[in-house]
């Protein structure tokens, strides 16, 4: 008998290695992916009872190879080649690093939508089953299976190649950016549940952290890869304090900071300091990590170094400006120069007429600043508007409660 979690960890780390070897031998990574999934499922079923084999990687590879061969057998033209592959002895364990990295880069291909890229990455690199990914996204397994299969079709059509990208290649920065973005989205998806009451979901952010660690280990010279990992660790550190006993949202200013994970904060901070020692202008992940680090450093909310956060948001706006970044800068500005200054920045944002993607957040920020400024009626209006537009239950609960408090103070109830 071996512990289930131990086996799951082992399977997840072996999955991309086995897929890589099988893909190299038979030529097509996408064709091999189903066979590897079946082998993983078989291992997850048998190993807890029969024990982990002496050479788990060889076991998985042999099992996946056999399944792959079975699949290909009906195609008579390929039969001879596949039989030969199946009879080959399992190769000695090799460093799987290159294959994992190549898989990650292939799954995070610019030809895919972010949602498809995340699903494919979780399956091929993370070793999660389609059922687990479907559970995480609260969709039926059949829907997720179709999404993964469509992603594969699109990759084939775009003739993506399975190879380790050369850090010197002209398209390397763009491809790395895509990988970082997909991992960032995966983390956020897990950290801020985008919908539903957050029941029985696979922890997407844990998986994102694991993959970011691997990426950083294999590309230690890439400062933004280190920055993204630092950002994840510094954000993850606050998770224990972020929700109340019933899953309700607790905002940063009201969190019990003694419940933050000091070890994660120390690790993230050290990683971040290392990246700033290098030359070059910091990119969006390093800057976001720096902001997270400033928050994490404050023992109490009122100790927060807001001028520094304001400066960092200013830099972030230059590097990767978006209405969301400006919203956050408005909050920081309000903390430094007062709510009126923050509100003026929001007016400026509205006047630009640019689309504010996260409409409920814009209302929520405005409501918060108006409340601080003492304009209760206007704040109430914007809290209500924000509550009506959010699709997250914990957020809706939080915003409705804020509105109710203001309503009470305004004399709506005794």
């Amino acid at each position: 008998m071996t512990d289930q979690p131990v086996i799951e960890d082992l399977l997840r780390s072996l999955a991309p290695q086995v897929l890589g070897v099988l893909a190299r031998r038979s030529g097509g990574v996408l064709e091999c992916e189903d066979a590897v999934q079946e082998a993983l499922i078989a291992a997850a079923r048998h190993w807890p009872e029969q024990g982990v084999p002496d050479n788990p990687r060889g076991w998985l590879l042999q099992s996946a190879t056999r399944r792959h061969t079975d699949r290909m057998r009906s195609e008579t033209a390929r039969r001879r080649r596949e039989d030969r592959v199946a009879r080959e002895p399992a190769p000695p364990p090799a460093p799987g690093a290159d294959d994992s990295l190549a898989l990650l880069f292939m799954c995070c291909h610019p030809a895919l939508t972010p949602a498809s890229a995340i699903a494919l990455t979780l399956r091929a690199v993370g070793g999660l089953t389609t059922a687990q990914i479907a559970a995480a996204y609260l969709v039926p397994e059949a829907t997720m299976a179709q999404r993964v299969s469509r992603a594969k079709q699109r990759l084939k059509a775009s003739s993506a190649v399975f190879e380790v990208p050369e850090p010197g290649a002209p398209d390397f920065p763009e491809r790395l950016r895509c990988v970082l973005h997909v991992l960032y989205l995966m983390f956020n998806e897990g950290y801020t549940a985008s919908g539903g009451p957050d029941l029985h979901r696979v922890d997407l952010s844990d998986e994102a952290v694991r993959l970011a660690r691997r990426l950083h280990r294999e590309l230690p010279a890439e400062p933004e890869a280190a920055g993204l990992l630092a950002l994840m660790l510094l954000t993850e550190a606050r998770r224990p304090a972020r929700t109340g006993p019933h899953g309700e949202l607790v905002p940063l200013a009201e969190q019990d900071r003694t419940r933050w994970d000091r070890e994660l904060i120390a690790e993230g901070t050290a990683l971040l300091v290392g990246t700033f020692a290098r030359r070059g202008r910091p990119g969006e992940y390093r800057l976001q990590a720096a902001i997270a680090a400033v928050h994490d450093r404050a023992a109490r909310a009122e100790d927060t170094d807001w001028p520094q956060i304001l400066g960092l948001y200013g830099l972030l706006e230059q590097v990767a400006g978006s209405p969301l970044v400006t919203l956050n800068r408005a909050v920081a500005l309000a903390m430094v120069d007062g709510p009126t200054a923050g509100l003026a920045l929001l007016d400026h944002l509205d006047a630009d007429g640019g689309p504010v993607p996260d409409l409920h957040r814009a209302h929520a920020v405005r409501a918060h600043l108006l409340e601080t400024a003492g304009d209760t009626a206007a704040a109430l209006h914007h809290y209500r508007a924000a509550a009506a537009r959010t699709t997250s239950v914990p957020e809706q609960r939080y915003l409705t409660t804020r509105a109710a408090r203001l309503h009470q103070h305004a004399g709506g109830r005794p």
């Binding site: 899953g247 109430l380 408090r405």
Partner: protein, 133 residues
């Protein structure tokens, strides 16, 4: 086992005021009641899916004849009293059990802890071959 869709309606219950006019502790009790019930039904294996719907002001109605451009209007109908707030898909032994769960949902506390008596429509779901095979 049969599956039932339990459709929770916003209006038409015992509560007239919008939730943001309730006392904060009543809001907390309301959400906690729902969370506890959902957790219980997940644990018993009866809850297939719990899906609250976003605010009805965000809803749109689409009409199309398949030829001309689709007509998109705000929805649901403004004169309609009852608006779907969300739905639960449960898999239970009997219709009686589905009605029992619907009753628990309808009794979710409102202002002052008094049950809201939200109307819950119970509809059996047709067999879905794609999932059951």
């Amino acid at each position: 086992m049969p599956r039932y869709l339990l459709m929770v309606n916003h209006d038409g219950g015992a509560v007239e005021e919008p939730m943001d006019a309730w006392a904060p502790e009543d809001i907390a009790a309301h959400f906690d009641y729902y969370a506890a019930l959902t957790e219980e039904l997940v644990a018993s294996g009866e809850m297939v899916r719990f899906t609250p719907l976003a605010d009805p002001r965000l809803a749109r109605i689409v009409r199309s004849d398949g030829v001309s451009a689709p007509v998109v209007t705000d929805g649901p109908y403004p004169e309609s009293k009852e608006v779907l707030a969300g739905f639960n898909l449960v898999e239970v032994d009997s219709e009686a059990r589905a009605l029992e769960i619907a009753a628990r949902i309808s009794a979710v506390p409102g202002p002052g802890g008094i049950p809201t008596r939200q109307p819950v429509e119970v509809r059996q779901v047709m067999t879905d071959l794609a999932f059951d095979l």
